[in-house]
């Protein structure tokens, strides 16, 4: 694998990351969603396919390892945001029918509408970049604690089991 191939992998990972990030984080944000959302989702799906293809072509390549870790975090985030993506693109299930080759079930990103219970209460912390973390909660949790989209919060890690979130008005 050449340096160019690694760079291409990194840039397609960035495309995947961008696509995941343009999916709104809460139902309240849906009306403000990206008007080019279908182009961005199309790009996300292509990027994820491309990354998968490279990982299968070079399964033992250590150069990919830190990037794969990031990809898996984004996978978690995409699964957690899937219902919001589907709200923006109600005809998403028909997208896979328009491809010449139907995606295999292992390419779960083409089957977000079929992901069942196991992700319904998905809560995770994902690293977004060197200095940012993302907390993923389902809508029920967010509603129960009264968080709003756009609200400013500060976080503190008091011990190795808890994160304290201070909410500003």
């Amino acid at each position: 694998m050449s340096v160019n191939e690694l760079e291409a992998f990194r840039r397609e990972l960035e495309n995947y990351e961008y696509g995941v990030q343009v999916i709104p984080a809460s139902p309240q944000a849906l009306p403000e969603a990206d008007e080019a959302f279908s182009d961005e989702l199309e790009s996300l799906l292509f990027a994820r396919d491309w990354l998968e293809q490279k990982l299968r072509a070079y399964p033992e390549n250590e150069a990919y390892e830190p990037l794969v870790e990031r990809m898996q975090e984004l996978d978690t985030l995409l699964q957690a945001k899937r219902r919001l993506a589907l709200a923006l693109v109600p005809n998403y299930p028909s997208w896979r029918d328009t491809l010449k080759e139907r995606p295999p079930q292992t390419h779960w990103w083409w089957y977000l509408d079929q992901i069942a219970g196991e992700y319904e209460s998905q809560q995770a912390i994902v690293r977004l970049s060197a200095d940012r973390l993302g907390l993923v909660f389902d809508e029920g949790v967010v509603a129960r604690v009264g968080l709003r989209a756009g609200q400013t919060v500060t976080m503190r890690v008091p011990d190795d089991r808890h994160i304290l979130i201070a909410v500003s008005e």
């Binding site: 840039r11 080019a36 396919d49 491309w50 293809q53 693109v89 328009t98 080759e101 995606p103």
Partner: protein, 129 residues
């Protein structure tokens, strides 16, 4: 499923050069008038793509041009992909014309081929090689 290109896609005879020139002229006019989707310029900044790269992809004779449909609402789109710089630009033509998005794409031909109702308008020799 693969992201490879079926070569015949690019062998299809595209539009007449005069029609391509007219299309590009419309896209250039939109660029000059700043007809961009709401988040377009923010996206470019987030992605580290200079605005000039957009017009570069649109006007370069090396760029591959594709006509396709938006998967959400079926509206018409034109895509430009520069085979050396690898920027893909999505432009919405017509009455509500504007630039929709722009991103880097390693294998732009494979991406364009997979778009909904994808039809090549122009395919450069450089892109095929």
């Amino acid at each position: 499923m693969t992201n490879t290109v079926e070569e015949p896609w690019c062998d299809v005879e595209g539009w007449l050069p005069e029609a391509v020139a007219e299309l590009v002229a419309q896209a250039v006019e939109d660029y000059q008038e700043g007809k961009f989707s709401r988040d377009f310029e923010d996206k470019l900044a987030d992605r580290g793509i200079p605005l000039q790269a957009v017009i570069g992809a649109v006007t370069s004779r090396q760029s591959v041009i594709v006509e396709y449909s938006d998967r959400r609402d079926g509206s018409r789109r034109i895509g430009f992909w520069h085979p050396r710089r690898k920027y893909f630009v999505a432009w919405k033509p017509g009455a509500e014309s504007r630039y929709m998005t722009c991103f880097w794409r390693e294998n732009g031909l494979a991406y364009m081929q997979r778009l909904l109702d994808s039809r090549p308008i122009r395919c450069s020799e450089r892109a095929k090689s």
